[in-house]
Symmetry: C3
């Protein structure tokens, strides 16, 4: 069986195939309108989201299928103390495929240990949000005709922004990618991303706190929201939230074929006046999100017999306990604690669920 | 493209056509059961409602379509600070038509500035609720065989009741309409309705605080709930809420073909014993609500190429700022403030979103 | 018209027919996939539940029908003071059949007085939850090939557990049933069950506080959750909640063909390690729940012309007022207070809604 937990679960070839399917759906929607007849998608949103949930629902309807689920944890049995593993296993008797969003990192990894149906990670706490990245990739491909040789500026909250981290992981695999990281000092890209993804792929990058300096060099500008709910210190949030705003003025030095992306929702980081600029692609991204999710649902339902290659990484089972308060293992009883080697030489392992908690042996 | 924001968006001819379509649906449901095959309705309820939301859902299913959406603001991205305009624009990529309810007046007017699909106002704060009025009109037409020459009593909360205001606006356009307004002094019909709608249409009206006096004269009795959520002073609410209750006793002097309507939900303003009286039409109204919404969905989907006539009214753009705390403009950044002429001679303009805030130039 | 309010609404013959239909659906799903084409199920959940609601939704989709409704009272008009009777009557214009869950006992009995469509009780406060019992019966039948001559252990919260009470009522009617009640003293089975159901059916039973003693004798072990939300005293809950836990160790003395059931959700009363034991049937129960609900929906939709036999029991209408604070009559105005004879000789009557409040005449 096949799941999508992290964008890196798919190879570059697979990503290209997904994009090709989505582009075929856009051209020939009728060909796909009954592909999921009689199938059911469960949207289990333990944390609310308009865009992602409605996008999955629209995708399933356009494939001719049904949708069931819940839109907040308070409408689920979680309030009665049920583990996410049990909720997912149960839902597997009601649906053929599950898209889940959860406030805790690694919840989908806990879920696939129990499920009999494919799981799609629709966002897991601070960890990642791979279907947003799929929408980003389809948008870049449709706008640029390629995923290669692009200079990509990422702006805003690069520290906490999970869509940023996933997009880096995905684009670093493509030939000729160059990143420019634009953020205030407090929200800089984490060091581990530089040390792992960027280093192993030899991807060049620059860092700056000035949108103005960066903008003329960019093929893609990926804006993100400074998310209030990720800050412990509300005063710091108030000080920073308006730092990085895109206006029509700032775009005057940009390339004429720049593509501006944003995972949405936005608050005020892009002026609504920019919406009418042909370089604004964030609403196209929304539409692309629906099409790539259609392609994803089809792929996962078609790969029921897929056998995951056994990971060659060294693992420690129930030796260390994760200390990240956002990790699913901290709220679930009777779950295996799994640490995977991160750096063999230095003896560093990290929690396989949240990828945050590290131990040195 | 065509929207329904206010009952006055439709001409008398259009209202009659809608009623005719609904009556045809009632007689020939099978003819319509696949009319919306493959189409999607989004029900975006930023404020909860059972009746209206389920009525739209049932309507879309009986047309063979799909439904997606949310049933409260807490399940939407609004909690992340997204503007209603963005939410609506995004939803336009997932659905072919949108029915929205919002706690702020004028939210649908903000929405149509961004949308690529038809918008139906399913209730916007203190402003209006036109699909309830459509249900009222269909019910009156089915019970009386006409919309002309009727004496209509409106009882209860005539000050805040948006369904009352919309029904007055609609029925004042029909020949021979006469209104009797029945309410305690504190909840009387607002003066501006007398000065505008009733004056320009030359519709006769009476005002009384006695149900007993009014009831023998009526063809239609439109009861409304004294709504707790509209009162700032809870003590005043407690004192007034039981003032105007319909019982089997009070109906003894009524005409034998009186039709009693109520937008529901009721609390205790109509005794349940009245439910068995053949003059009780409020549950028929519920069923009619579904049929007229089917007719409305069909009409709006068929008028994708409709071009709104350009309003000849004078407008002031971004000159004055609306001060009505229930107006959508007070919570939305980067929205045009639009004031429209209300009284040319006296130089009075009012906010086009909420129709409440007035300025004199 | 036919409803399902209590498992005892169906005769033994009818239960056997439902089970037979469900087993036919399992073998021939395609035969049933369009049986409810164009029909609508309303799921009105005034109290939230993942499993039961999603099970009904999946059931209706697998019959080819539509689903609408709400998943919590806050998304309904109940917050505006509407009675459950009105909400149900209104929903009858939108749906062909209604499954409702309500926090107050007897709410479905209040509902059927107003409805024009069949009502399924999907759980009413402390009262009962008959569709869970249907899932239990189908599971027992599929595992054992019969519903006769079985020794059934019921473990955990036997005082408040409504699924336990319903299962006793159902299985007591089958030949050769024997019960073993396993619970701490504080959560023992109520006396009235011994005095009524068990006495009138002559069903043998034992009582113990030791799982270990009971387990070797059992064909069926029915575990239940000690439910925090049913306790007024939270300290008592904390002390008792871990008393009765099933582990792989405790199963060593059990029969090799024991079937372990649990209505779910579980917290920790069954170790997840037991999930891999072939005797664990609680996830099969989940799947069976979907199939038996399909059979139930079909049965009720097919019996629109059924006339309920007039009860020969003596009733007192509006003589006594129910004092059970969980009874629907305590929150609904203008509802008939109905007390039915429980024990003719002793002159005991009980509230027909909640079956809890008794009076002696």
């Amino acid at each position: 069986m096949r799941h999508l937990l992290d964008i890196c679960d798919f190879s570059e070839v697979e990503l290209n195939e997904l994009i090709a399917t989505a582009e075929d759906i856009i051209v020939n929607p009728a060909k796909y309108s009954e592909k999921c007849k009689g199938k059911k998608l469960a949207t289990l949103f333990f944390e609310s989201s308009t865009r992602t949930r409605l996008s999955f629902e629209a995708a399933m309807y356009e494939l001719g299928g049904h949708v069931l689920g819940f839109s907040s944890a308070s409408s689920s049995s979680t309030t009665k103390g049920e583990s996410v593993g049990d909720t997912i296993r149960v839902t597997g008797y009601y649906a053929d495929i599950i898209a889940m969003r959860h406030p805790y990192a690694g919840a989908p990894l806990a879920a696939i240990q129990k499920t009999k149906v494919p799981i799609i990670n629709a966002g897991d706490g601070e960890h990642c949000h791979p279907t947003q990245t799929l929408a980003d990739l389809l948008t870049i491909h449709r706008e640029k005709g390629t995923l290669e040789n692009l200079t990509i500026g990422l702006c805003g909250d690069l520290k906490y922004g999970r869509t940023v981290h996933s997009l880096i992981a995905a684009m670093a695999r493509y030939k000729g990618t160059k990143f420019i990281f634009i953020s205030p000092n407090e929200l800089k890209i984490p060091d581990y991303i530089k040390k792992t993804t960027l280093k192993t792929t030899n991807t060049p990058w620059e860092e700056t706190d000035s949108i103005e300096d960066a903008i003329p060099k960019l093929d893609i500008l990926y804006m993100t929201r400074v998310q209030g709910e990720r800050f412990l210190d509300k005063a710091e949030y108030e000080r920073l939230k308006n730092s990085y705003i895109i206006s029509t003025d700032k775009l005057q030095t940009a390339k004429s074929d720049l593509a501006i992306l944003h995972p949405l929702p936005r608050v005020n980081e892009i002026s609504v006046k920019v919406d009418d600029d042909p370089r604004a692609c964030y609403f196209k991204q929304v539409e692309n999100g629906k099409y790539i999710r259609m392609a994803l649902i089809l792929k996962l339902l078609n790969e029921k017999n897929y056998e995951s290659p056994i990971s060659q990484n060294k693992k420690l089972i129930n030796v260390y306990k994760c200390t990240n308060h956002n990790c699913i293992t901290t709220i679930t009883q009777e779950i295996d604690q799994i640490f995977e080697v991160l750096d063999e030489e230095q003896g560093i392992y990290c929690c396989e669920y949240c990828k945050k908690c590290e131990v040195k042996i």
